[in-house]
């Protein structure tokens, strides 16, 4: 996180705010609600309190304006610059301006007012932009479905105003660091010749334009997939990737989630209802056999016959000796299976049933 230069702050932590005018894109109640939720985010992690007033000057004045609105920072029409806010201080200090040339929404569509208001409020309280892509104070607009303060945001506001008064100190999600040697994964899959690694709300992939690996929100590609995916695999000859969470799964083709999903794993693959979720999955392109890993067992599904093979489930150790009794994630590349468990990665030859190498989980990133 970054504090605004000069570390401006509100000396009185009981602040007032006033919504001077309303966008026609939403009902007044929806605007009031979005702004109120944004204030609640920050008051819940700090000693700050906010009171809405309807008359006269408030500490934080909120308005919807377009183009040049005489604050020396003109807006630029649709897109681009969405809103701005001023650091703590008298008069224009703390004020928030939303660009009325944008379409303001209270859902996934661009641009979600609650999400932008939460960011701008960070400026009104003394925060500058963060380089943490998982932080609300990151400069670019990314809407990942839910609006929550990351640990970076919480640390930032508490650096200015101290901790919140509630007994249990709130904590926020941390953004994975691709070169953290303790990095573990929720799921990994090939996708159209690339590798995609999943952790919490994020995907990671190697990309020639990034010095390490690219990390961004899963919602950038698939806005309606849930966070915290548990398994994923590609059926290459159908150009389909399947994502699993709990007893449901989604199928995507490129960035499109296929119609009729999510479906239940019981109906589609024939799992017993005792199976509550899948830990990992991989489809062997050479044989059309898909392996599902559930706790210390594995199941084998025939993609052509579209049914489970007889004789399964088996203990993982029977088909894949040496990789341990739990799998976090697995993918196939150049005929080999790569198994991940915790910080470890096993390169496995399915023909000889032997482990070829043992590596760190994040060995695929240029650390």
């Amino acid at each position: 996180f970054v504090l605004t230069q000069g570390s401006p702050r509100w000396e009185d932590t009981h602040l007032t705010y006033r919504i001077e005018n309303y966008t026609p894109d939403l009902s007044r109640a929806a605007v009031d609600h979005a702004i109120e939720k944004a204030f609640q985010l920050w008051s819940s992690v700090s000693p700050l309190t906010f009171t809405k007033v309807s008359e006269s000057q408030a500490d934080i004045m909120i308005s919807f304006v377009r183009g040049d609105h005489r604050d020396n920072s003109p807006f630029d029409g649709p897109g681009g610059n969405l809103a701005h806010a001023f650091q703590p201080g008298p008069h224009i200090g703390g004020d928030i301006h939303f660009d009325e040339d944008e379409r303001w929404t209270n859902n996934f569509r661009d641009y979600n007012l609650y999400r932008v208001a939460a960011h701008e409020l960070g400026h009104s309280l003394g925060l500058a932009h963060s380089t943490d892509i998982g932080a609300l104070m990151y400069p670019n607009y990314i809407f990942s479905g839910d609006v929550q303060l990351s640990q970076d945001d919480i640390s930032g506001i508490q650096a200015i105003y101290g901790p919140s008064q509630n007994p249990t100190q709130p904590i926020g999600p941390q953004t994975p660091q691709v070169c953290d040697s303790k990095l573990t994964f929720d799921a990994i899959t090939t996708i159209r010749g690339e590798l995609m690694f999943f952790k919490d709300r994020f995907y990671m992939r190697t990309n020639p334009f990034y010095p390490e690996a690219e990390l961004n929100f899963i919602s950038v590609f698939w806005p309606h997939l849930p966070n915290g995916l548990q398994a994923a695999y590609e059926v290459a000859d159908r150009d389909e990737v399947r994502f699993f969470k709990g007893n449901k799964y989604w199928a995507v083709k490129g960035q499109d989630v296929l119609y009729g999903y999510p479906k239940y794993i019981y109906r589609s693959f024939g799992f017993p209802r005792t199976v509550k979720n899948i830990d990992a999955a991989v489809s062997d392109e050479d044989t059309g056999k898909t392996y599902f890993f559930v706790a210390n067992k594995c199941w084998r599904y025939d993609e052509y016959k579209q049914s489970m093979d007889a004789g399964y489930p088996k203990m993982i150790a029977e088909d894949f000796p040496g990789i341990g009794s739990k799998v976090d994630a697995v993918f196939q590349k150049d005929g080999f299976f790569y198994f991940f468990h915790g910080k470890r990665q096993y390169k496995f030859d399915t023909k000889t049933k032997r482990i070829l190498t043992l590596q760190k989980a994040n060995s695929w990133f240029n650390c």
Binding site: T131, F209, Y210, P211
Partner: protein
């Protein structure tokens, strides 16, 4: 073949303008005349571009490559990334 170079230079002109405007708005690139003079010698656009690429975790090349332009075209907050 005649139209192809025009399209490229037009795109490039747009990109140059995108870079210039973005760095003026968010990285304090000055756009005064003197600045243009100095650009002949040490190019502040390259320095500011490197600052932006570092901020966004991109490869720090000082050149407006595709990924850098892609980040610049994303909707964002109007507050500068570097203190004024």
């Amino acid at each position: 073949s005649h139209s192809f170079p025009a399209a490229t230079s037009e795109t490039q002109e747009q990109d140059v303008e995108t870079v210039q405007k973005y760095l003026e708005n968010y990285y304090n690139l000055k756009n005064d005349a003197k600045q243009v003079e100095r650009q002949r010698n040490n190019d502040p656009v390259v320095e500011k571009l490197k600052q932006m690429q570092k901020f966004f975790g991109l490869k720090v090349t000082g050149k407006p490559d595709a990924e850098t332009l892609n980040v610049m075209k994303q909707p964002r907050c109007g507050v500068p990334d570097m203190a004024q």
